[in-house]
């Protein structure tokens, strides 16, 4: 390994030298760059936006860290987020930015912002907001997914959204609020939103845990709410999406994700239900095509994740991909991926912009990874599916008052990258006994293919629809990564994180909904595991490469160490079980010049090493694992990479279970790779 490494070392050193020179040039240009210029790019070794760029790519061309040396990565620095808030956080989901040798990130239970030296991890500044009861009442707590960087070539700003839904602009050099932005650096996002947030500005339910995205001096802000399988009411605030001027904080436009009376789409909500139905926000990441001046919104479910009886009709723009003009917010096109959403199939991740060639034709495409484990690919200018979607007849459920769409669109290509239905054939068959136990458990549930609807939960059975896809399936907010050179899309996904779609009538003190998710009183609680292992066959989780020129899966491999519960199971002693992967649905991917990098979503404690979770590197051409690094806890956000002074770094956020949030920066040992 080391000889191969030495042989290519010079090339790497040369490449990095070029990269750094490029960065320096870009930096010099930035000072003189015209307003709205794009001086900082992943090509220059930076990571200036949540997804590396505003296109959702998660791609960096850096190659100092490669197959030959990934396993020798060392810790450069660590930063624990415990003391950024009043208590430690155990779900650190932020992906940092790096611009000009400084790393910026959110962190801590109150979502502070911190600037660190990207080489040493030394703190430059910290900004904290004490939002009191408004912060405590926030529907989405903790550190959130990150922030945005903006510059006009003169000023540099960091932008983020607090748990209490206020947009803050900070001077990137000092961390001080920018006086000329909003009111002393703050825009109250609960105001100027074309509706009155109820019941009041302190407790009114709306927030955003995602990272703002800035393109061409326009900041686009999403909207999020509490988990919605059992909401308190069928009425709620609406998740309108807004664009703001990055210089002044002035609102430029508002897009009504639930159309107002007289607007197109209003009639898709029968009985005037658009007037009171809420949610329908964008809690994940917005994507921007700065060249075309277009915004892509992955819209979530309307109020009531599993019950839509209070909102009959298709419910536009619930679970739609919506394309807007960046400057005006005017709708260019939309495509509703799920009609009348009742599966919690929020569009959960950043749509990815992909310039591809299909059958010899160049297409500017946008691809939306989903909980369904289906990649929906569109021409991003026209909104037409690249490969036809087939409106497919789906089953009608038995929940009184529900309105059912008779069909749902399913793409003809590419094939699903995760299992999104349940059948007896999907149950474990390691041994006849384990299979019999799995069948016994499954007998309490209704099984069926994708779009099998929620059912009334009955003590005698079914307790509900056992589904793979809804809420926890496929891929969730980390989304995927796209390689602009090879046109391959990479995504990690889960096959064994089921959801139970059982409906009960709530007591009036819990909700005014007619039906919410729940389990029939007095029923047994069989769970989803047999002796602690998933009832579904492995692989529990995979990493998939999809060739977007062909619409085909190029390769798919199990991702994640075999869980302890499987490896140690008495009934499986002596059985050789290939790596099963792990059923995590929040696994972020990073693609570099040669590698795809992703962390295990679960901790394992095999006999050969200490307790921990692996960060893995795969050969992006073949899917073969080429390296791994042990981390103390699962990677709980998407990995990112950058280079400073000729050295490449990979930063991961780790947290989960008993391990509180921490950023770990990795790099090669001194002298290696250069």
């Amino acid at each position: 390994m080391s000889s191969v490494f030495r042989a290519i070392g010079w090339t790497h050193r040369y490449a990095l030298a070029l990269t750094v020179a490029g960065a320096a040039t870009a930096h010099a240009q930035r000072a003189a760059a015209p307003a709205g210029g794009k001086p900082f790019t992943t090509a220059a070794g930076e990571w200036p936006s949540y997804g590396g760029d505003t296109r959702g790519s998660r791609y960096s061309p850096l190659d100092q860290i490669g197959a030959a040396n990934f396993s020798s990565l060392e810790v450069a620095w660590r930063f624990k987020t415990d003391s950024l808030g009043p208590r430690p956080e155990f779900k650190l989901e932020s992906t940092p930015l790096v611009v000009g040798g400084v790393l910026y990130t959110t962190g801590g239970t109150n979502r502070a912002v911190v600037a660190l030296d990207a080489v040493t991890g030394a703190e430059r500044w910290i900004h904290r907001e004490d939002e009191g009861p408004r912060g405590a009442a926030a529907p989405r707590q903790l550190s959130g997914r990150g922030l945005a960087y903006w510059t006009d070539g003169r000023e540099e700003r960091i932008l983020y959204v607090t748990p209490g839904y206020r947009l803050i602009a900070l001077d990137a050099k000092t961390g001080k609020p920018v006086p000329g932005f909003g009111e002393n650096g703050v825009v109250d996002l609960k105001t100027d939103i074309d509706q009155t947030i109820l019941p009041d500005l302190v407790t009114g339910e709306i927030g955003f845990q995602g990272a703002p995205v800035v393109g061409r001096d326009v900041i686009v802000i999403g909207a999020a709410f509490r988990e919605g399988t059992a909401p308190r009411s069928y009425k709620n605030n609406k998740g309108y999406i807004r664009g703001y001027d990055a210089r002044t904080g002035k609102r430029l436009w508002t897009f009504h994700t639930v159309p107002q009376k007289g607007e197109p789409g209003y009639d898709s909500w029968l009985n005037g239900s658009a007037d009171y139905t809420g949610n329908t926000g964008v809690w994940s990441q917005v994507t921007i095509d700065e060249d075309l001046g277009l915004v892509y919104l992955p819209v979530e479910s309307p109020t009531g994740d599993y019950y839509g009886g209070h909102r009959p009709g298709n419910d536009l723009y619930g679970e739609s991909l919506v394309c807007l003009d960046l400057r005006t917010g005017a709708k260019k096109w939309h495509y509703q991926i799920v009609h009348h959403p009742i599966w919690d199939f929020d569009l959960a991740a950043a749509p990815v912009l992909a310039d591809i060639t299909v059958g010899g034709r160049a297409i500017k495409a946008v691809a939306a990874p989903t909980k369904q484990g289906i990649l929906y690919v569109f021409d991003r200018i026209t909104g037409a599916p690249v490969w036809p979607f087939v409106e497919t007849a789906v089953e009608k459920g038995d929940v009184p008052g529900e309105w059912y769409s008779p069909t749902q669109p399913i793409p003809s290509k590419p094939p699903a990258y995760a299992n999104n239905g349940t059948s007896l054939d999907d149950l474990i068959d390691f041994t006849p006994e384990l299979h019999a136990q799995a069948v016994a458990i499954a007998s309490h549930y209704k099984l069926g293919p994708i779009f099998t609807p929620p059912v009334v939960s009955k003590a005698e059975g079914p307790l509900g629809t056992l589904a793979r896809g809804p809420t926890n399936g496929g891929s969730n907010w980390p989304g995927g990564a796209f390689d602009p050179e090879t046109h391959v899309f990479y995504v990690a996904s889960s096959n064994a994180a089921p959801a139970l779609l059982g409906m009960v009538q709530p007591s009036k003190d819990r909700s005014d909904m007619d039906w919410v998710a729940g389990l029939a009183a007095g029923a047994t609680r069989p769970g989803f595991t047999v002796q602690g292992i998933p009832i579904f066959k492995p692989p529990y989780g995979t990493l998939t490469a999809i060739d977007l020129d062909k619409g085909e899966i190029a390769w798919q491999v199990p991702h994640g160490e075999t869980p302890d519960a499987v490896r140690n199971l008495e009934a499986l002693k002596g059985t050789n079980i290939p790596r099963t992967g792990q059923p995590g649905f929040v696994v972020g991917t990073l693609v570099t010049k040669t590698l795809v990098i992703a962390g295990d979503p679960q901790v394992t404690t095999p006999p050969t090493r200490p307790r921990g979770a692996m960060l893995r590197a795969y050969d992006k051409k073949t899917g073969a694992q080429v390296g791994e690094v042990l981390l103390p806890a699962p990677v709980s956000a998407s990995p990112m990479t950058y280079a400073v002074n000729g050295r490449q770094f990979i930063v991961v956020a780790v947290s989960g279970g008993p391990y509180s949030g921490e950023f770990i920066a990795l790099r090669l040992p001194a002298g290696e790779g250069r």
């Binding site: 155990f90 707590q141 679960q602 404690t605 790099r667």
Partner: protein
């Protein structure tokens, strides 16, 4: 720089290894106390109380089925068991008590949290017994989560 890198690597390794060392040095269960979650450490009545508490206080985010969602991790299955495998129940109690519910941390007392833990144990297939799980941290320290039957 190389020395710094080596030091960082050492710190990293130590941070991983240290909890194991501490775990090894932790006083084992009292002679009469059960040692793992397989030793029937909660009662059916307590799990039933825990279920009521869970439905009221936890299900909205973690789901009635304990399957979790978005920001709320699953409370059954291999992910949950992997996270807590080899750790004492006192760690799980601390984690819940000091971070939940996320919008009004500290609302749930030890008894509430311990009853919910009993329900979680039941839902993960660990056997019930005659007595309740004690809410006292010292007692919970002596009961280890073990993903598979010893």
């Amino acid at each position: 720089l190389s020395r710094a890198a080596r030091r960082a690597a050492f710190v990293f390794t130590a941070a991983i290894a240290l909890p194991l060392v501490i775990g090894a040095g932790r006083p084992r269960a009292r002679m009469s106390a059960p040692a793992t979650v397989w030793d029937s450490v909660y009662s059916p009545a307590q799990a039933s109380r825990g279920e009521s508490s869970y439905v009221k206080g936890c299900a909205r985010c973690h789901q009635a089925s304990l399957a979790g969602a978005d920001q709320s991790p699953p409370l059954t299955g291999s992910g949950f068991l992997g996270n807590w495998n080899g750790l004492p129940l006192s760690d799980l109690q601390d984690r819940i008590r000091t971070t939940m519910p996320s919008d009004s941390v500290g609302l749930y007392d030890r008894q509430f949290v311990t009853d919910v833990i009993a329900y979680i144990l039941k839902m993960n297939g660990f056997p019930a017994g005659a007595g309740d799980l004690s809410p006292e941290a010292d007692r919970l320290k002596a009961i280890m989560v073990q993903a598979t039957r010893p």
